[in-house]
């Protein structure tokens, strides 16, 4: 009975998904379920498919085979309105922030909700101001992306994603392109979000952060999911050898 109940909470279900980027097999038979409010971290070496998995969930990478369910409904990746649907529910923050260079901070955050979601501009503006204040950028509303530091740009990107009112937030190595001093301010913003119950899928190299914030950790290597475990176990008592090797290497570097 308990299993049935838990199943009905799966926000995202991925069954045997395979995806290719040009000729490269980037996602191999991925099976993963994510529940509402969960914070799942993806760890693994470069090229293991972590970013590809995230890209698939916003429709930037179309799977060749397998099934993806969002809130129990099957996604047809060939159908434009299905793609639009997933993007209305899932927002992504990229490693390179991907802010629109021709707009200031406020416009970057407001444009999609106003022009694409067609919401009330005043309401969007208010929410944008609130979110930007939350990430500590209330003084930079009129600045352009190239006037901001990496950490500031990344925080704008987070505010921009949140202004879309997503149900699920994907974070793709958002601290990797940052100088170490700037990493903390971004992680603080994420901690805040985590405590508010947002479903999140986080790709990160920051192992301490991953341990602190995740409810589950997924280790990927070479396009496949090798192990899924609790944060404590995956670092201290991993089930798979490859996980052990990777974790050992990462911790040695620190």
């Amino acid at each position: 009975m308990e299993n049935l109940w838990r199943e009905s909470l799966h926000q995202i279900e991925i069954k045997s998904a395979n995806a290719f980027y040009e000729k490269l097999h980037v996602l191999k038979d991925i099976d993963l379920n994510i529940d509402k409010g969960e914070i799942v971290s993806l760890i693994g070496p470069s090229g293991s498919g972590k970013s590809s998995l995230l890209k698939m969930l916003v429709g930037l990478l179309i799977p060749k085979s397998g099934k993806v369910f969002l809130n129990k409904s099957l996604i047809n990746f060939d159908n434009q309105s299905d793609l639009r649907n997933i993007r209305e529910q899932i927002a992504i923050v990229f490693q390179q922030y991907n802010l629109f260079q021709n707009m200031n901070v406020l416009k970057n955050v407001c444009i999609a909700p106003t022009k694409i979601q067609k919401r009330n501009p005043k309401e969007v503006n208010e929410q944008a101001l609130y979110l930007l204040e939350k990430v500590g950028l209330q003084d930079k509303l009129k600045s352009y992306p190239d006037e901001l530091s990496g950490g500031q740009q990344q925080r704008v990107a987070i505010a921009r994603a949140l202004c879309l009112n997503p149900q699920i937030l994907l974070l793709d190595e958002i601290t990797s392109a940052l100088d170490p001093e700037l990493v903390k301010e971004v992680l603080d913003s994420i901690r805040l979000l985590a405590s508010e119950g947002m479903t999140m899928l986080i790709v990160s190299h920051e192992m301490n952060f991953v341990k602190e914030v995740s409810s589950r950790v997924v280790f990927m290597d070479d396009g496949s999911i090798i192990e899924v475990n609790s944060p404590k176990n995956i670092f201290d008592k991993p089930k798979e050898k490859r996980t052990l090797d990777f974790v050992g290497k990462i911790l040695k570097e620190k």
């Binding site: 927002a91 629109f100 694409i116 879309l164």
Partner: protein
């Protein structure tokens, strides 16, 4: 040499000066109309060429063929081809019209390429971010790509404009009354070729040089703005 100096006042009569001014106007008009049309239609071609829809594939193919053809034929041959086609099909015998249409077709091919290059220079990450937020292809172009791409497009497009002024000299071969044709007429009338062609060279220079300087100034300004 004395003959030359004698000829100068005869050459620079009011009639001749007005004649040359009109010819200069024709040269400029041909170039300007060509580039305006080239920019608008070329822009459309660039936009449609970068679509990803399967259904638009024939259109993309046609655009590529069109662009490659008219960028690989000499200006003179294009002019003659259009001239004879118009003549044979009895569409029109207005030389200026024929030249203008040729000029527009060629400019569209070249400027279309320049615009396409400009669009491609914008990082894929901008497209990804837009797609992830449900921007359509055209919305992305309008709100995000073109506002950034115009800085990359403008200098070479302007450079093309300046180059095009010189290319219109070939329209003289189908009888359009632009600057080069005017020089030929004056030469045939008996004026010294040195005066006729020399003056025309100077007139072209007067048209082209200020624009060239302006273009370089604009390039510097755009480059410094970017930094």
């Amino acid at each position: 040499m004395e003959r030359l100096i004698e000829e100068i006042p005869n050459f620079f009569t009011i009639w001749n000066v007005i004649f040359l001014a009109k010819a200069m106007g024709v040269t400029f008009l041909l170039t300007a109309i060509g580039c305006l049309v080239g920019f608008s239609v070329g822009g459309l071609l660039a936009v449609f060429r970068k679509t990803k829809s399967y259904y638009l594939l024939p259109l993309r193919f046609l655009i590529i063929v069109y662009t490659e053809i008219f960028r690989r034929i000499p200006f003179l041959v294009s002019l003659l081809l259009f001239f004879y086609v118009f003549q044979i099909m009895r569409i029109s015998d207005n030389l200026f019209l024929i030249a203008t249409i040729t000029v527009c077709v060629i400019a569209t091919a070249y400027i279309g390429e320049i615009i396409r290059s400009g669009i491609e220079s914008i990082n894929q990450t901008q497209w990804d971010a837009a797609a992830a937020m449900n921007f359509t292809y055209y919305q992305t172009l309008k709100e995000i790509i073109f506002p950034q791409a115009w800085k990359v497009i403008l200098p070479p497009a302007f450079g093309f404009f300046i180059m095009f002024i010189k290319d219109t000299a070939l329209a003289s071969q189908i009888g359009v009354m632009e600057l080069t044709f005017a020089a030929k007429i004056l030469n045939n009338k008996g004026f010294s070729p040195l005066l006729s062609f020399g003056t025309i060279l100077i007139l072209y220079f007067i048209l082209s040089f200020p624009l060239d300087r302006f273009g370089k100034f604009m390039e510097r300004k755009l480059a410094s703005n970017r930094n």
